[in-house]
Symmetry: C3
Subunit: 350 residues, 3 copies
């Protein structure tokens, strides 16, 4: 393991103030609650800023705060932009997932009718079919399947077991995690006399640039035309994206979200885990969909919605608050009815 | 790309009336909103029938309507059965997922104790274990695993990475999408002193004829006996079907549905996405289960239910409608109580 | 198929009383509703104990009950511990998933820089990367990927297509089902001007001893530190476990559960299917989370909660009961308001 001193870390950051011994070194990185001697950590939550003396790391990177004095066991690096600094320094500890130094494993299958640009690495047991095109520096790990005429952009990283059906397009610098399936048939049938007849799914999938697709996530091919995931959109694990869905740019969808066929989603939309969207729904840009929400119809731009069926989040919270009072309300209504009945009876002289 | 004239398309359909130039040709197919010159499209939604002049396709197939005149850029083909016509013509544009022309790749592993009937195609890196039997014309794509004594019917198509555990049976003409897992152990344990002891899962899975199993869907083997998916049933992606479940014929389950152990489901049951069914529940034929519903106990034949816990759909809609009024109702009950109190006080002369 | 007599089964159990012909034999095992001649079955549900004469099995194992007389077609074995007996006898019928008798297939790829202890079996098309360590007797089936420096414990069973990212640790005797992905990147980004910048995910995953991970389940690597699944915990299919989650011992999570980042879960926690847990939530030991529940914040030790947002289960049931009355309550409140209005009007002499 490589040793890095606080001075070296500050140098890599290009900015920041060191408090304590600049020659103290680290060999690993941990979250504050797990950090031990020899670890680097980052502190920016209120909770941990208030408990700084309990952080056991040797080097702590944190935002500028007046009047801090590190304990003798730690060196502090005060920085302007804690999140940027964290990203910069974490990358030093990133174990490369890619061990294959270069070239195409003789244990892979690459069709002579496929085109691979320079610097492509193909692991043992990967399969690349006729007519596929793989851009410069892309990495195709073991058990990846790339179907006929698929196009894999420059620098794309396909983790083990990812499946790219024929004709699917992945733009440059996207990351596809293990077991993701891009381009399986959309779920489209015509009913006839109680049976379902398959509608041929002749469309494709296009994954934009710098997209990340989570492990075991599925993006179905369009019936006709394209299913699209826009540039910079991040999709977590086990998500379903149905046929003909169009997703804009820089969205983020948490795990187990389900998006039915022909849904339209704008840019920078956030969805919480296990949210579901009914077919043909339309979701405006900059909106936020709460975890477990059920969406149908139209969500306006910038809206924040929750619940199933989804409500504007303020209404949702008021409804949820009222809901726990409901059993009591039922009783109180009964009591009111009786009281009123009694008053009427009294008035009428019974 | 192959060119197809309107006249040729009509000939393939065997019926239909051409309006406009019968020699206009198409090379692709698109949905109406994306269609451009050179495309075939199909119009049958009310929305698009009303916006026909905005459809940019060269050839438009649509239902018989009186008095239509195509613009000079388009040829119309009027048909009796638009959905059937669409299925027929789409199939002309279907890119075959299967490129392997014939035989068993020398880069596959097929046990000498397995039996493969004629016309079976096995892709590189597929694994077929001892005692497995694969029927005529079945296609086994890359990274498929077929366990010991499994039986794969005639014409079955196993997409890349599908896993068939030992002893699983798939009847003819079924399609298993990428990453689907058939026959993993059911989730069965006996608790003993706060620990869980595994119940050996010795049963099997039977997938009926013409079934479609979506990508990354899991169907668990029975503890004893069989987990069954009936003929013609279509299952979308990322669905969980637990041990000992029995599913009837011609059902359709949308993505991310979860069906717990020992559930019984009749024929032609439809389930919306992310619906969940508790163990030992029983669902009658021809019923419809709304998206995100939570089912326990018994759903009668032909019922339409929604919500979690599920309610008959009319009641569900009324409850949901009332729910948004709940915060106000709480206030109104309080107001009523105060008003009544005041009236009593007045009456009593306070 | 091997024949086993009732006498032999009793001998294997080491205890139990035989009623009927001790030489009656079985060749298979089935649940009571499917059992036929030649089958062994187990009866312990109330329902089937009351319908014993309808059970068609040749040998029935059941709890001690006074005064039973088997029909001429069946032999009964009465036992003290029906569940233990079932586990013991079912294991006799377990078809081994593992056919590879020994060694490392020449069709696998095992890095010369990996260490495999004795008795490890590696199937064709498995991939074991540099620095990986595989313990005694572990089984690595086809299309398994084991990343750099991963550690696989003694006796671990990795089913086809399981993916172990670099650095992941699996302790001994754990079972990882097909398509499970251990160690994919956590879903961590920093937002900057409407875009998401990836936080390098440098942490690891540790799967404890005797854990079972279901098919296509995902356990993400920590951003820093460890994502942990504790000893004896059983996780069903299609479950998501986010980065930095810590799960205690002997928990059981049903299919499609979703656990967001940094969640803390105690020991012996049970979760029903499709339950979801928001990030940073904390769930006490011995608690039970109902199916489809949505958890945020803190669940105390031993609590039973349901619903989304989750409520204590008694309150949840009362709220659900009251909910169906809500549309009527809205009407009754309106009626009360009118009645009160009328009374006031009358009193005021209108």
């Amino acid at each position: 393991m490589r040793k890095l001193t606080a001075a070296r870390l500050r140098e890599i950051l290009g900015a920041g103030e060191i408090l304590g011994d600049p020659y103290r070194s680290v060999t690993g990185v941990s979250p504050p609650e797990e950090a031990a001697e020899g670890d680097l950590t980052f502190v920016f939550s209120k909770k941990w800023l208030q408990s700084l003396p309990q952080v056991r790391a040797s080097v702590v990177v944190l935002p500028y705060i007046e009047g801090l004095t590190p304990p003798s066991s730690a060196t502090y690096i005060l920085v302007e932009r804690i999140e940027e600094s964290m990203i910069r320094l974490l990358s030093l500890f990133l174990p490369s997932a890619v061990t294959l130094r270069e070239g195409i494993s003789p244990m892979a299958f690459v069709s002579p009718l496929a085109t691979l640009e320079e610097g492509v690495r193909v692991y043992p047991f990967a399969f690349v079919d006729d007519g596929a095109h793989v851009g410069k520096g892309a990495v195709i790990m073991s058990h990846v399947f790339i179907g006929r005429d698929a196009r894999i952009g420059e620098g794309v990283l396909l983790y083990p077991g990812a499946v790219v059906y024929p004709g699917v397009v992945i733009e440059k610098d996207s990351i596809i995690h293990a077991g993701a399936v891009l381009g399986a048939d959309g779920f489209g049938y015509v009913e006839s006399q109680g049976r379902r007849i398959k509608i041929p799914q002749v469309g494709k999938v296009r994954i934009g640039e710098k997209v990340e697709i989570g492990a075991n996530t599925c993006v179905d091919r369009a019936t006709m035309g394209m299913t699209v995931v826009g540039e910079g959109t991040k999709v977590d694990n086990l998500v379903q994206i149905g046929h003909n869905v169009k997703i804009g740019e820089h969205c983020a969808f948490a795990a187990q979200v389900g998006i039915s066929g022909s849904v339209r989603i704008g840019d920078r939309v956030l969805m919480g885990g296990q949210a579901g969207v009914a077919d043909h729904a339309s979701i405006g840009s900059n909106s936020m969909i709460g975890a477990k929400s059920g969406i149908a119809g139209r969500v306006p731009e910038g809206a924040i919605v929750m619940g199933s069926p989804a409500l504007p989040h303020r209404l949702f919270k008021r409804v949820q608050g009222a809901l726990t009072k409901l059993p009591e309300i039922v009783k109180r209504v009964r009591t009111l009815e009786k009281a009123l009945e009694r008053m009427k009876d009294e008035r009428d002289g019974y």
